[in-house]
């Protein structure tokens, strides 16, 4: 049976829907990815997390959960149900939070999402990044 769109999978389990919404808030281009494209991004994130020390992994998962709570407290909705404006406000509030812990958490999440999206060859090609081992020879 084909899983429904963005079915809970991998490290993030039931939080994956929220993670995908947060990721779209961070890199809007992610909204254009189909499920397979999103899974490729999530897999890079999961692999990066798996290679980091366990406490760091736990902190990141906890941060995604905390963002979910803040979203519910503030907008009575989980991140996956927020429109772009409210999602942007939610992210901006943690990015500039007075609490270093929240700012750090957001920085970590943002870094992982960037890693998942911007290391894909398709993403690099889409912005015209063309570095090649052959250097000048490949251009002339």
């Amino acid at each position: 049976m084909t899983p429904p769109p963005s079915a809970p999978t991998g490290t993030f389990g039931p939080m994956e829907r929220d993670l995908r919404a947060l990721a779209v808030g961070i890199v809007p281009e992610i909204a254009r990815l189909d499920d397979a494209g999103w899974r490729a991004v999530a897999t890079v994130v999961e692999e990066a997390l798996a290679s980091r020390p366990a406490p760091l992994r736990r902190k990141l998962l906890l941060f995604v959960r905390v963002l979910g709570w803040i979203s519910v407290a503030r907008y009575a909705a989980r991140p996956a149900s927020l429109d772009a404006v409210r999602l942007g406000r939610l992210l901006a509030s943690v990015e500039r939070s007075r609490l270093l812990l929240l700012r750090r958490g957001f920085w970590g999440l943002r870094t992982l999402v960037f890693m998942g999206y911007w290391t894909r060859p398709e993403s690099a090609a889409a912005i015209g990044y063309r570095a090649r081992p052959e250097g000048w020879e490949a251009r002339r």
Binding site: A124, I127, Y129, P133
Partner: protein, 498 residues
């Protein structure tokens, strides 16, 4: 546990360790047994693909994401056969006279550091790139500096047969960059120094090392270790530590040797840096050609250095402040982006230090002092002026809020870019020049070693890497590290033949 015996053992194969290995190698013919242990892997030439994620995980500690204790600074630490010289850019400068004088290390003379640096510069083919190999990103920096009233200087660099891949920081895919992996280590091995990779030194004991040789992780790049996996006790008359400014203090702290000077780990500096980008109206050559051809040295007057640079999509994305549409706008302008790396000249400050956690892993405690924030802000303002003078239409400035300056802001850069917008944890800061932690000096009261890298009170133990710096070097450090390591090797040679 397996047991092995040597005369001299070296830990770490970067700028310091590679230099020591080569300098001791001629003595192998006279019967001296020398081994070097490196915890990173030895890659085959065809494994240097230039692909961002796979090279970062193969060549950097924590895949390039090593964070300080409070998570506000990322340290780039190379970990491979060749250490950070595998991923460095190869800009080759000698130490400023005023800095070495200011360190006040008895017995350390600037002229000696320069003479030794020059020798390694010759050995590493250091030269200026010809004009036709300079890309637009670098040219615009020179033009912008001129327009803003500064004089850019050209970086001497250490390449041979550079094709201009621009991928230096992912390990040169064309074996052009003359790091210790290409020059000093192969020569040392040819003369009989044993280099053992995937060999992590767990601790130092009196005239011995405890080494764990690791299996090759499944699917990972690199050759298997030269030794069978397992634990080894390696005895030696002289132990030289060159595990870098994070690795060496951490190794000493977890070894808890009786008589170790109390200052181990103190005095850590790293040239905290921002990557700044600016958008031009037209496409420029940026991701082809050597990335770092020019710099502007304002260290003495304003506490910063500006360097040209060019990074890869993920590194760039991570280093821009913000998220969403505003962030993507800069990313989507990639072919029109000019980049400048701004480095602050930080100074040894109480509290900024290397420590270890309960499991003996390195933890770096680092806070941005007001001076560092001021330097980063000044550097950002200067860069914004340079970008606009070069014709940029929009500048990303991490210490502005919002972090984007339009041409219409060009007249009020000082107002828009300000220390009050520097928010640790939000503003991306990274550093690739870890220094200090086992500084040279007079005695155990003020330092860890003497001017020849001898640890005070433990004459069989030497240090030969960036951790020797008693304070920031205020310029790109690798040549000075090689010069200091050469001095350490000279003292070891004198003693080993006694």
């Amino acid at each position: 546990m397996n047991e092995r015996d040597y005369d001299v053992v070296v830990v770490g194969s970067g700028a310091g360790g590679g230099t020591v290995a080569q300098a001791l190698a001629p003595m192998v013919a006279d019967g001296l047994r020398v081994a070097l242990f490196e915890k990173g892997p030895r890659l085959r030439d065809d494994e240097f693909t230039g692909r961002e994620i796979e090279m970062a995980s193969a060549l950097y500690e924590d895949g390039g994401g090593f964070l300080t204790a409070d998570g506000t600074l990322t340290l780039a630490l190379g970990s491979a056969y060749g250490g950070s010289t595998v991923v460095y850019t190869g800009t080759s400068l000698t130490a400023p006279e005023r800095v070495i004088r200011g360190w006040g290390v008895p017995g350390l003379d600037h002229a000696d550091v320069v003479a030794r640096s020059r020798r390694y510069a010759d050995e590493n083919n250091v030269h200026l790139l010809p004009d036709d190999e300079i890309n637009d990103n670098n040219r615009l920096f020179v033009e912008g500096c001129r327009g803003a009233g500064y004089a850019a200087e050209q970086f001497p660099i250490n390449v041979k047969g550079c094709l201009g891949s621009s991928l230096c920081n992912l390990g040169c895919p064309n074996a052009a960059k003359q790091g210790t992996n290409r020059v000093q280590l192969p020569r040392a091995e040819a003369l009989g120094v044993e280099v053992v990779t995937r060999a992590e030194v767990l601790r130092v004991e009196e005239r011995a090392l405890v080494v764990r040789v690791h299996d090759e992780p499944q699917g990972a790049k690199g050759l298997p270790s030269e030794w069978a996996p397992g634990d080894y006790r390696v005895r030696a008359r002289i132990v030289v530590l060159a595990a870098g400014a994070v690795g060496t203090p951490a190794l000493l702290l977890r070894s808890a040797l009786p008589g170790l000077p109390a200052r181990v780990g103190e005095g850590f500096t790293c040239h905290p840096a921002h990557i700044l980008v600016a958008e031009h109206a037209r496409e420029i050559t940026n991701d082809v050609g050597h990335p770092k051809s020019y710099y502007l040295d304002r260290a003495e007057d304003e506490g910063f250095i500006l360097e040209t640079c060019m990074y890869f999509p993920f590194t760039t994305a991570k280093n821009l402040v913000g998220f969403g549409e505003a962030h993507s706008r800069f990313m989507n302008a990639f072919r029109r982006l000019q980049m400048i790396l701004v480095l602050a000249c930080d100074h040894a400050t109480p509290g900024n230090r290397v420590a270890i956690d309960r499991d003996g892993r390195a933890v770096v405690h680092y806070r941005f002092t007001p001076d560092v924030v001021r330097s980063l802000v000044r550097a950002t303002r200067a860069s914004a002026r340079i970008f606009f003078a070069a014709g940029a239409v929009r500048v990303h400035a991490p210490s502005a809020d919002p972090p984007c300056l339009e041409v219409s802001d060009a007249a009020r850069i000082d107002e828009r870019v300000s220390e009050r917008h520097f928010l640790p944890g939000r503003t991306s800061v990274s550093a690739a020049h870890p220094m200090g932690g086992c500084g040279m000096g007079r005695d155990a009261g003020d330092s860890v070693t003497d001017a020849w890298g001898r640890v005070h009170g433990l004459p069989w133990l030497r240090i030969a890497d960036a951790s020797l710096f008693p304070d920031s070097l205020e310029i790109n450090p690798y040549l000075s590290i090689m010069a200091l390591a050469d001095r350490v090797a000279e003292a070891v040679r004198a003693e080993a033949t006694r």
